[in-house]
């Protein structure tokens, strides 16, 4: 059948690119994500220029706005075993990272025309939190909402995570939220008309030390209480679920077959499209530059495209939240921490669950497309908004992965990238009102698991905002708790 290919790795045609443009995805990064071009084995070498030319010719972009998507190492597919051979100095923290992209959005990508002069609700952050909240507010009848996003949809952690969704948490609040989120993910395609490829292959947590093993034991009991079928499994059982798993140095494992993985990007597109259909404005490439306050209220949000007078402001900017809160003299306890991740060549299905060694922060799963997607925290990672990639990470990850799954030594890495965890002192989110600024609501601090919590959290928050009915979630996780010292620490954080 006659087709004109732009990306022959992923079978993306000229028509697919035009379709993406018709859906409002015009910049190169968004078209890459929506069509999948440049995500295959060649990583854009043969197709990027063709797509850029097409976007320019179709007038989807101004010439100055035609910028390449971020080229991520390695330049050519590279075997994990080779990357595992680099020296790593664990006496020093990781330094640097390439390419630097935190301030990389050129102003030429900014939409023309001002933002609306006023809105009932302004949501800062077009990640899954902000978009899910906006969509749920619209469902509650509040459509006078503007969502502000500094980059393209998926530019932040919502577009950079590994897509794991699980109910295996250490506190009742998160177990319940995660359960509800996974239910909402199951009906997402029906509600919002876009596939999110939820695959419930389970999560296996491995424990290498006694304290972590005890934690898994204790949490399994908690999960069962909430109807989550987590069970402690033997090494042999784990190897039955994941053939080839060595379980090296592992004392025990916990397994919940109902956890799984999803494809993160369509959630953002689905919520954003749902918002737009209901009249909510989603403004990309628009930065917040300041606030106007009086009498303990935020009156206006200032942006690079004009000011918006508003009744309520929600700060849902993930790792950028502390930076934005400082613009209005609010100190958040959150700190950004880089987390690196990589993706390999796509292989036929061989790995059912997501596997994580809780002690070291290693995790890996196989995506719907067949890639091994995985990451590993660095215990020495310094605080800071850094989204650069390091060889140190790939080496540590490759070594840790090959220890548990030696056959992957020949598997080739296609690309590595990084995102930022939004870390709070007790690993729990910051939700609800801001002391001293009554109409500034917080929705941040999700420590790397905001993606999977968002559907449920947004549902509760929209209801709380729209009806004014009290909800203990917004007192339990309020900013006040850090000064009052009522902290309940979540202990099932990967990395």
């Amino acid at each position: 059948m006659s087709k004109a290919m732009v990306c022959s790795c992923e079978d993306v045609t000229v028509d697919d690119v035009k379709h993406a443009v018709s859906r409002g995805f015009c910049d190169v990064e968004s078209v890459k994500r929506y069509t999948g071009f440049g995500t295959g084995i060649c990583q854009g070498k043969s197709c990027l220029a063709a797509v850029a030319s097409l976007l320019e010719r179709e007038k989807a972009l101004k010439p100055a706005a035609v910028v390449p998507f971020t080229p991520r190492p390695p330049l050519y597919p590279t075997e994990l075993r080779l990357l595992a051979s680099a020296p790593v100095d664990m006496s020093v923290p990781p330094v640097g990272g390439v390419p630097q992209e935190v301030d990389a959005f050129p102003s030429s990508l900014r939409p023309e025309g001002p933002v609306p002069e006023k809105a009932k609700v302004v949501i800062i952050g077009g990640g899954i939190m902000g978009l899910a909240l906006a969509y749920n507010l619209a469902c509650e009848g509040e459509t006078d909402v503007v969502v502000l996003e500094r980059g393209y949809l998926c530019a932040g952690a919502s577009g950079r995570n590994g897509g794991g969704v699980r109910m295996q948490w250490g506190t009742p609040a998160l177990v319940e939220l995660a359960k509800r989120s996974i239910d909402l993910m199951k009906s997402f395609a029906r509600d919002l008309g876009i596939n999110v490829w939820l695959r419930q292959g389970g999560y296996i947590f491995l424990a290498k030390t006694k304290p972590v093993a005890d934690r898994l034991d204790r949490n399994a009991a908690l999960h069962n209480k909430f109807g989550v079928p987590t069970r402690i499994i033997s090494a042999d059982e784990a190897r039955e679920i994941v053939p080839g798993l060595t379980m090296k140095d592992c004392l025990t494992a916990s397994y919940n077959p109902e956890d799984g993985v999803i494809f993160p990007w369509p959630f953002l597109w689905g919520y954003a499209q749902g918002c737009k259909k209901k009249g909510v404005r989603v403004e990309t490439y628009t930065d917040v530059t300041g606030f106007e306050t009086s009498n303990g209220q935020v009156r206006k949000v200032k942006t690079t495209r004009g000011d918006i007078a508003c009744d309520t402001v929600v700060l849902a900017a993930g790792a950028w939240s502390p930076e934005i809160a400082r613009l209005v003299d609010v100190q958040l306890p959150n700190e950004p921490h880089r987390h690196e991740i990589l993706s390999t060549e796509p292989l036929k299905p061989f790995l059912g669950p997501l596997v994580s060694v809780l002690d070291t922060g290693l995790y890996f799963s196989q995506s719907m497309r067949g890639e091994i997607v995985g990451g590993m925290g660095d215990p020495l990672e310094p605080v800071g908004l850094n989204m650069g990639s390091t060889l140190r990470f790939v080496t540590r990850f490759a070594q840790a992965l090959m220890e548990q799954l030696p056959q992957v030594g020949h598997v080739k890495v296609l690309r590595q990238w990084a995102g930022c965890y939004d870390v709070t002192p007790d690993n729990n989110p910051v939700l609800g009102r801001t002391p001293g600024l009554d109409n500034l609501l917080q929705m941040s601090g999700f420590v790397g698991h905001g993606f999977m919590m968002a559907p449920a959290v947004a549902e509760r928050m929209a209801k709380w905002m729209a009806t004014g009915e009290s909800d203990e979630l917004f007192t339990r996780f309020s900013l006040r708790r850090f000064s009052e010292g009522t902290l309940e620490r979540e202990d099932m954080i990967i990395g």
Binding site: M1, K3, D15, R81, W197, K348
Partner: protein, 433 residues
């Protein structure tokens, strides 16, 4: 070599994909989504058309894998075989394409079935059965100037550095130096390839692929995958300056059936002809730029019957092939491989010619990845339709330790690339303490 159980002749050391083309076995795999037949396109590891399972390893670039006696080749992503693949029906069922975002979204049952089917159909290749042997530990090297690319620009730079006595290391991913001088279209007055032996011993590394320009606590370095006699080894190469001259990738040019077996990048065609004496019998050429017309000449001289030369941008140069015309709307024809080529003539009217290969010759797409990782600015040149690295006449980029030369900054002849390499080397030597 063994190709799915059939014996295939090959010349030891030539690229596997070249052997297969020469043996008239162009279909090496099926594509990931529509199961369209795939055959080699770029011969530069810049597309994915030639990936095969080789000796049990998935997704191997056969365009860069030397043929060896007894090698086992398997075509991927096809059932029951790449020649007759039942999933090819996907391509026919969805002539307008398959929107995986919205197909069956929210349709009960269908949605779940689709997810199961998609999971089985997705992915390319199988997990290797064997554990990879442990690679030798990475080696850390330090030099004053790291040169990436052993083409005209890189060699020009290396000559200056050698003459000035500045320690340097040059990395070339091919097993030979020269880049387009060795396998592109010969240019009039093009520079000679400078042999490795004419440089200080140990300063030229071939079969060494630069994987990234990273930084860490000890400074900025290149990660290099070097193929040493005992196997692959990772090198960390710290350097004071990085002179980037990696050339470019042969891009896809979007036209109908541009992925049909028998469609090749122009640089692939010249490489096959010049290095391995493999050429089509009848070729139609399409594209733009000086290389298109020079390639037509080369093909003609070497006995290939050129049936069309279609310049999509024009105007035609004075010494163009007698058949050369301005045209648009190119299209490759054929069921499983190219049998004809058509286009719309400048004055209107379609024209169709027979051929067994369509050669797509356009300026290469600069390999700007390392430069961007190093902090250089990359901009879109709308005239060329390419992303280029911003650099001044001496190759200086926005990053003080990164210099760019050759195709990276927007093309030109090999002679110009060599001169740019020399200028960049001169400029950076001046800045070294």
């Amino acid at each position: 070599m063994d190709l799915d159980g059939e014996s295939i002749p090959a010349i030891e050391g030539e690229p596997v994909a070249c052997s297969l083309v020469a043996a008239d076995e162009p279909v090496l795999a099926r594509s990931i989504k529509y199961h369209r037949p795939r055959s080699p396109y770029c011969f530069a590891a810049a597309c994915s058309h030639c990936l095969m399972r080789v000796d049990g390893m998935p997704n191997v670039y056969t365009c860069r894998t030397p043929a060896r006696d007894g090698m086992r080749l398997e075509r991927q992503n096809a059932y029951p075989s790449a020649k007759v693949d039942v999933f090819e029906t996907i391509d026919w069922f969805f002539p307008k394409g398959l929107d995986h975002h919205e197909m069956f979204a929210g349709v009960p049952v269908a949605e779940q079935v689709m997810a199961k089917v998609a999971r089985q159909l997705a992915g390319l290749g199988l997990l290797p059965k064997e554990e990879g042997p442990v690679t030798p530990p990475a080696r850390t090297l330090r030099t004053r100037v790291a040169v990436v690319g052993g083409g005209a620009a890189g060699l020009g730079a290396a000559r200056v550095l050698a003459d000035r006595g500045v320690p340097f290391l040059l990395f070339e991913r091919d097993d030979h130096l020269g880049g387009r001088l060795a396998h592109g279209v010969p240019e009039q007055d093009g520079p000679q390839i400078q042999e490795a032996a004419t440089f200080p011993k140990g300063s030229i590394l071939t079969r060494a692929t630069v994987l990234g320009l990273y930084d860490d606590e000890a400074g900025r370095y290149l990660a290099v995958g070097a193929l040493e006699p005992e196997g692959p080894r990772l090198l960390k190469v710290y350097s004071e300056r990085f002179l980037l001259a990696p050339g470019g990738h042969p891009p896809m040019v979007p036209f109908e059936n541009n992925d049909l077996p028998g469609v090749y990048a122009g640089r692939a065609a010249s490489l096959l002809l010049r290095r391995y004496d493999v050429a089509p019998e009848m070729a139609a050429l399409v594209g733009w730029g000086p290389e298109l017309h020079a390639l037509a000449k080369l093909m003609q001289e070497r006995g290939v019957r050129v049936t069309a030369v279609v310049d999509l941008k024009g105007p035609l140069p004075k010494d163009a092939h007698p058949l050369a015309v301005s045209g648009s709307e190119p299209k490759a024809h054929g069921l499983r491989r190219v049998s004809a080529f058509s286009y719309t003539q400048a004055g209107g009217g379609k024209k169709k010619v027979s051929c067994d290969a369509v050669l797509v010759s356009v300026p290469v797409s600069p390999s700007f990845e390392l430069a961007r990782q190093g902090g250089a600015k990359v901009t879109f040149d709308a005239g060329l339709g390419l992303f280029v690295v911003e650099a001044d006449a001496d190759g200086r980029t926005q990053a003080t330790d990164v210099f760019a030369a050759g195709d990276l900054t927007g093309g030109g002849t090999a002679r110009e690339a060599e001169a740019a390499g020399r200028r960049a080397a001169e400029a950076l030597v001046g800045g070294l303490s």
